[in-house]
Symmetry: C2
Subunit: 254 residues, 2 copies
């Protein structure tokens, strides 16, 4: 099972899932599912499983280290180095959605202000839309955006407020990519998630910004490609995890 982090993969517990609501906090999800389904159930972070899927079966094949960044309702990332998922000491490696860009920025579901997700995550963008146009109307009288896709449409149509929100989203996402590129120096970054896959222009702008927000040598060598597996990269990673835990044949090498 893939779930948004942070979670305790070893214990099978969702610790705190900002975009899924408080009811999930502390849920022993693997025990519950194993009982209902009468099969062993393993849990890991969705971004990390997406990274594993893309590294072994998708757009990250042959790249080492490989970073996968998912931009959908939330923002997360996973790192595969030397064929291993880099989980970190507490399973929190790659939680780039919650790296703070501006401590005075918008409030994130995680409690911080001005982190990458508060500017560029789909759920946060929907919240920004509701606040940016409280009347529900644009200056020209047409219906105001109510979600991320609507903001991007309004920006393309020239609405100045929407353009500002998109520029801030690109800057924040660019800072997140720059932080990952700086720490890891990946051979390739694969970007997926519904928002990234539907808003290619956002990703292109963020990559251009990321190149200028880290060492010039790092920025010049930054290679960012689109997910090859799309919405199934996380499922591919979960299947690879299940195969590994079942002691089956090792997954195809990178």
């Amino acid at each position: 099972m893939a779930a948004p982090g942070p979670l305790d993969a070893g214990a099978g517990v969702i610790e705190h899932s900002p975009n899924q609501g408080r009811a999930w906090r502390g849920t022993r999800i693997t025990a519950l599912l194993a009982e209902r389904l009468a099969v062993p159930v393993a849990l890991d972070d969705d971004a990390r499983l997406g990274a594993l899927g893309e590294a072994l079966l998708g757009a990250g094949r042959g790249a080492d280290p490989l970073v996968y960044v998912t931009v959908s309702s939330g923002i997360g990332s996973g790192i595969v180095s030397g064929g291993r998922m880099l989980r970190g000491a507490h399973g929190l490696a790659g939680e780039v959605g919650h790296l703070v860009v501006d401590p005075d920025g918008p409030r994130c579901a995680c409690g911080r202000r001005g982190d990458v997700e508060s500017y560029a995550g789909g759920a946060a963008l929907a919240r920004r839309a509701r606040r940016a146009w409280p009347s529900g109307r644009l200056a020209d009288g047409s219906a105001a955006p109510r979600d991320a896709a609507g903001i991007f449409r309004a920006a393309r149509a020239g609405d100045p407020l929407a353009r500002g929100i998109v520029a801030e989203a690109a800057e924040a996402l660019g800072r997140g990519l720059a932080a990952l590129a700086t720490a890891i120096d990946p051979e390739r970054i694969v970007v997926g998630g519904s928002l990234a896959l539907s808003q290619g222009a956002l990703v292109r702008r963020a990559v251009a910004i990321a190149r200028r927000r880290c060492l010039a040598e790092t920025g010049r060598r930054l290679v960012v490609v689109q997910s090859a597996l799309g919405e199934t990269s996380v499922l591919a990673g979960a299947a690879l995890l299940a195969a590994e835990l079942a002691g089956g044949a090792p997954p195809p090498g990178p």
Copy 2:
């Protein structure tokens, strides 16, 4: 041989060493030294070798992943995960000194503006001192600081300009630590380098800021300790590298 990065360890070439001057750029240092000394010479990044030294012989023993951050004239870091140095695809992993915090900030020797090193590196702080007090005098007529240590002294004595520079240095260093903590989720961060070792209060402030600039779960679990090997951590790492390349006994495990 340890040298400041970025460098090409495999080819034995210093690529670009912002704080050492342009004369070093492109120097094939291992070939030159091997010829003069008539022994094999290996090269790696000083921060990365410091990380290896601290991970295997110093304050990072037993911690996995282990991040080492050096704050002296420049700022760099190294990562050891699963007993291996994480070099990255181009030997640039951990170049956190050049992660941009504010694109309108002070100019760094690397060419960027507002990166971590431009606020918190010793050489950059000396440049800031020369610009902050062009008359060479503080408001009370005493001699103005001319280097990083002088700025910290003036800040402790209450000079408002010096206090502002120190606050910006702590914020920038905190952002750099937060970026590393977010990407890697290290079990421990070891901080060394002459400036960090002489200015413990700067490091403590930076750590307090880092805790607030990343996911709360990450910040709460952040453990930062002082280098155990001090100025010799880099030498210890270089000796471990030489031993490894000489095919001698494996270095003591973490």
